[in-house]
């Protein structure tokens, strides 16, 4: 009912942020019989192909090994179940598995286990959440015929095939993937939990599998998923992978909200809480001391302008609104300093991040803002602010913004339009928002491209405000085609400067993750995707 970290927590790539008490090395504890508990919000699914939110992914990462993972220091892909992933042309990839890997039920992990899992996820009629991740594999279209008349009465025809032509098993431990276009980052994307292998038993009854998945990771299910209560895991004795569990087991305790979970953490009833509610951060810092963890995250909040609305045509008006907002004060008051005010379009953990590419137009300056506002001729009619109702803090910071716009610019009538979460993105996509709106971005992978392309590119999948600048598009493609990361960064930075000058959105703040743990455990490592690395946890 409260505090949903909204959903698109995707690919588990990225530089892992090592947290204070991290490195719980040493194998001596492995014989421990002790277990620990982690607070969780009820996941939607545990079937890897059908789970795309961080809670489900947290559990799936404990149950399944992936083909690759990312090195905490360099961000380079490291092999997990794959022995090698190679390609000559970046289009046809050969994936070879390590020998001797098994599922929790003893079945061997083979190339076929992967191919079958991927085909199932890509098969449209299954309706799985990670379907679109397979869109760049050849033959995907045959499994996902298009609806001939969009929302019209005609329905999409039944797919002609249930196997992608781009997947070929060459021997028991090797398979070949043909992509529709070259993609040098393919090994990185495989670190996402949507790409794991499934055992044969899964295909008998996916619904049953969803309740107690049989994986191949360091932990296995101990009983079935107790909805809204707990998910119990125990160490997988036959584990042969590269991240053996140190604890004998763990329990994901499911809470309806993080406030109650925090109360339990204080009372010592749960060992790890990944997200301490912002309101509790000051007292948590005080009460938990060393056990309080602060992790940078890739998530950004923006205030976006509806560029399709003529009233927001004048860039001076957009500057004025941006300069009338005291970001620093809002993060302190509403988020208790848990988030960091931002003047950039990308998050600090991303290579190529600069502290202040925006300059004066993102700097709080009431007088300057008022002058620009008057120069732009003010705004007609009431100003409406749009946001979704999925978290109460959205309303709180919007209230602060509204008060500042009233006071600093003299806008007399400001109204709220708080939209049910289920309807929010649709409202934005259909250009129904009639005023500035909350825009949130959760990164998929740590690259400036992931922040710029989807949001400000003319055809960007999440460009909902109608922004378009050919120069920006050109710079982004130049960056994408660049030979080295360093070279691409210069182009991305130029694009960022241009976007900020046009100001289709104004940056507000960058999320940080405040977590806590009990005295019982050590070796707590949390990455920017709010994922706890359960194998490293040591129970005292």
């Amino acid at each position: 009912m409260k505090r949903f970290v909204h959903g698109r927590l995707g690919v588990g790539l990225a530089a892992l942020a090592l947290v204070a008490a991290a490195c719980g090395g040493g194998g001596s504890e492995e014989s421990t019989t002790k277990t620990f508990s982690v607070a969780l919000t009820e996941p939607a699914h545990l079937n890897p192909g059908d789970s795309n939110e961080s809670y489900g992914i947290q559990v799936i990462q404990s149950l399944f090994d992936r083909l690759t993972e990312l090195d905490p220091k360099t961000g380079e892909p490291k092999m997990q179940q794959a022995e090698s992933i190679t390609s000559n042309d970046q289009k046809v990839w050969t994936i070879k598995l390590k020998p001797g890997l098994t599922f929790h039920n003893g079945e061997k992990v083979t190339a076929q286990s992967y191919v079958d899992a991927w085909n199932a996820a890509a098969y449209g009629p299954n309706g799985w959440a990670n379907n679109y991740f397979f869109g760049n594999i050849e033959g995907y279209d045959a499994l996902n015929p298009e609806d001939p008349d969009e929302d019209g009465p005609k329905e999409a025809p039944k797919p002609e095939s249930d196997e992608m032509s781009g997947l070929k098993v060459t021997d028991e431990s090797t398979f070949e993937v043909t992509l529709t276009a070259p993609l040098s980052q393919f090994p990185l994307t495989l670190a996402y939990t949507g790409f794991v292998a499934l055992p044969k038993v899964a295909f008998d009854d996916f619904k049953k599998f969803d309740q107690a998945p049989i994986g191949n990771g360091p932990f296995q299910m101990d009983g079935v998923w107790q909805h809204n209560r707990e998910i119990k895991l125990k160490r997988f004795a036959g584990y042969k992978g590269n991240r053996p569990a140190k604890a004998a087991g763990l329990v994901y305790k499911i809470y309806p909200n993080n406030d109650t979970a925090y109360t339990d953490l204080q009372a010592g009833k749960v060992d790890v809480l990944l997200t301490i509610p912002a309101a509790k951060v000051p007292s948590a810092k005080r009460d938990l001391g060393e056990r309080f963890l602060d992790t940078p995250a890739g998530t950004m909040d923006f205030l976006a302008f509806p560029l399709y609305d003529k009233r927001f045509d004048d860039v001076n008006l957009r500057y004025a609104i941006s300069m009338a907002i005291d970001r620093e004060a809002i993060t302190k008051a509403v988020y208790n300093g848990a988030y960091k005010s931002s003047k950039s379009l990308v998050a600090p953990i991303v290579p190529g991040f600069r502290d202040d590419p925006c300059g004066q137009h993102c700097t709080y300056d009431p007088t300057g803002a008022k002058a620009l506002y008057d120069k732009a001729g003010g705004i007609d009619g009431p100003l409406e602010l749009w946001f979704s109702n999925s978290d109460p803090t959205y309303r709180q910071w919007m209230e602060a913004v509204a008060n500042q716009l009233k006071q600093n610019l003299g806008i007399s009538e400001i109204k709220f339009r708080s939209i049910p979460a289920a309807d929010y993105l649709t409202t934005l996509s259909e250009h129904k928002a009639t005023g500035p709106y909350r825009q949130n971005w959760v990164m998929d992978y740590p690259s400036a491209e992931n922040y710029l392309g989807p949001l400000y590119g003319r055809d960007g999948g999440s460009n909902r405000g109608g922004y378009s600048n050919p120069q920006v598009d050109a710079l982004i493609s130049k960056g994408n085609g660049a030979k080295s990361i360093r070279e691409s960064i210069t182009y991305y930075q130029q694009a960022e400067d241009l976007v900020l000058k046009d100001m289709p959105v104004t940056p507000l703040w960058n999320w940080r993750q405040q977590s806590g743990h009990s005295d019982n455990v050590s070796g707590i490592l949390i990455d920017p995707y709010i994922q706890l690395h359960v194998d490293k946890v040591v129970v005292k």
């Binding site: 009912m1 909204h6 959903g7 698109r8 927590l9 995707g10 939607a44 699914h45 795309n52 939110e53 449209g124 009629p125 299954n126 309706g127 799985w128 959440a129 379907n131 679109y132 869109g135 499994l143 996902n144 015929p145 298009e146 609806d147 329905e155 999409a156 797919p159 619904k207 969803d210 909805h227 809204n228 209560r229 305790k253 499911i254 809470y255 309806p256 909200n257 109650t260 979970a261 109360t263 339990d264 204080q266 009372a267 009833k269 109702n389 999925s390 939209i419 049910p420 979460a421 289920a422 309807d423 929010y424 993105l425 649709t426 999948g461 999440s462």
Partner: protein
């Protein structure tokens, strides 16, 4: 009597259909595309969208959807949530928690409420009476969420006596604090009702007669007055059980109890029709049945009442 029961049961049918339809229509009217919302902002391919809409009959008009739903109900199928969970299973888990919570609250009302009421009623006008009156009035006036947070803070965290969240320790320990908070209003109300009713009966002619005839006052109170005084209290307690079930939303939220209140509140936000309608249906059914039972009980307690036809008590 049986004709009366049959008639009442028959009356439940249109009410049941009316309520479920009303809720179903309201959920239908909720804005937004639940499938799109499930994706958390990622693109959803047409084929996936189509598959899910077909699965949940989302493209059908309201009446067809409702008919399909009712049809399912008749065969014992309560539908499934958008995450593929069986609504009936989910609900029964939630109901178990909510029922335990409601029973705890109800026991508080019964035991504490009646005792306080009797104490106050027998000591009418004295300090104890005033204390009970003032205390109960206060409890009635303070909103439940304020009572809840205060109780959690004082009893749970500061004193550390009782669990403040979750149901780890099972019944009754985990349910004591939430039960007390949920039952606080009813408890106060029962105390006041008992007090008033007792005071009223103590002045009744039959008591005066009994005392005048030389029966010991104590016996009069226990044998005659109390029984008569408890008639309205029992009525209230019966009906309030339904209210406690429905009123658990706020209390469950504060104390993190995975009951139906929590389930249905989030189901509304994510437009989970079958879940909302399923829970509400059960609530309404429980409410109607409890009402019937209370009316029957009323007749047992008060022999003057006969179930003729359209009596004064509906």
């Amino acid at each position: 009597m049986w004709r009366y029961v049959a008639r009442r049961l028959l009356q439940i049918v249109p009410v049941f259909i009316g309520t479920t339809f009303l809720i179903y229509a309201l959920v239908f009217a909720l804005p937004g595309d639940p499938i799109q919302a499930l994706s958390g902002g990622k693109p959803v391919p047409d084929s996936v969208l189509q598959a899910l809409r077909d699965r949940y009959h989302l493209d059908e008009p309201l009446l067809v959807q409702y008919a399909l739903y009712l049809g399912g109900l008749l065969t014992g199928d309560f539908g499934e949530t958008f995450t593929g969970q069986d609504v009936f299973t989910l609900m029964s888990e939630g109901w178990a928690v909510t029922a335990q919570l409601a029973i705890t609250a109800w026991l508080f009302e019964l035991v504490l409420g009646v005792s306080l009421g009797v104490l106050a009623g027998l000591n009418r006008g004295r300090a104890l009476d005033t204390l009970v009156l003032a205390g109960t009035t206060l409890v009635i006036a303070v909103p439940v969420f304020v009572v809840g947070y205060t109780a959690q803070l004082l009893v749970g965290l500061k004193l550390g006596v009782l669990p403040t969240a979750g149901i780890d320790e099972g019944w009754p320990v985990s349910y004591v604090l939430p039960g007390l908070v949920l039952g606080a209003f009813g408890l106060a109300y029962v105390a006041r009702l008992t007090r008033t009713s007792l005071a009223e009966n103590l002045r009744a002619d039959y008591v005066r007669t009994a005392v005048a005839k030389g029966l010991p006052r104590r016996r009069v109170v226990l044998r005659h007055t109390l029984r008569n005084s408890l008639i309205p209290v029992v009525t209230y307690l019966g009906i309030d059980f339904g209210n406690l079930l429905a009123g658990a939303v706020v209390t469950e939220g504060i104390f993190n109890l995975p009951g139906i209140g929590q389930q249905v509140f989030s189901a509304i936000q994510s437009k989970e029709g079958p879940m909302v309608v399923g829970v509400t249906t059960f609530l309404v059914l429980a409410f109607l049945l409890v009402n019937l039972i209370v009316d029957l009980l009323y007749g047992v307690l008060d022999p003057r009442i006969r179930y003729a036809g359209s009596g004064a008590r509906a």
